[in-house]
């Protein structure tokens, strides 16, 4: 199975609720990143957490990383209809050299926020 697997595959919530998405991975990483994709087009980088970090915040986003469990979570607080999108985690490995930017993506979580 693929490095960077997310669950749930789909999440439907009401505006104002919090949304939590999880990601698991298999190999050693340098960092883990979360991206957002609207309507199957370009990805937008949301947040990066390094392997020596446990938690990071950016606005309404909170990311945690547990390297012992090889897992991460993305929490979006006080969700808005505009947060409706697909969210992907991606890991960047530790091999160095030619591994820069060679991200391994999960299959994503489709988030729908109902107004």
């Amino acid at each position: 199975s693929q490095q960077g697997e997310e669950d749930p595959q789909a999440l439907s919530i009401q505006e104002g609720e919090n949304a939590t998405m999880n990601c698991s991975y298999k190999t050693s990483i340098n960092n883990l990143q979360w991206y957002r994709q609207n309507s199957g087009r370009g990805l937008v980088h949301l947040i990066l957490i390094r392997s020596n970090e446990r938690e990071k915040h950016s606005g309404r986003l909170r990311v945690t990383l547990d390297t012992s469990k090889k897992s991460s979570s993305l929490l979006i607080t006080a969700s808005r209809a505009a947060d409706t999108a697909s969210y992907f985690c991606a890991t960047e490995g530790n091999a160095g050299g030619t591994s820069y930017g060679k991200l391994t993506f999960g299959q994503g979580t489709i988030l729908t926020v109902h107004p």
């Binding site: 693929q2 340098n30 937008v44 980088h45 990066l48 591994s99 820069y100 930017g101 299959q107």
Partner: protein
Amino acid sequence: GAGVSQSPSNKVTEKGKDVELRCDPISGHTALYWYRQSLGQGLEFLIYFQGNSAPDKSGLPSDRFSAERTGGSVSTLTIQRTQQEDSAVYLCASSRQGALGNTIYFGEGSWLTVV
């Protein structure tokens, strides 16, 4: 524009034809990446260019796929003798340099349909 630019946005081609997809990275970015995203899936790494170094082609799925980057800027991804399984969104991305943890900026993608 300031972002990664890709063309064409959409391409429909007949099975067996060759296609070329173009990517204009952000000015000054030395690292350029191609990814592929099949319907409802995560992204799959294809190829990575960094400056004048030999590209990392380890993700190219077959010898029908090739890519060039001329003058350290514009890149072209060529798919020869297209097959229906090549139908996907092809996403180009760039970053300031090939280094772990650098923010990677994605274009809007080229949606290829092989009929």
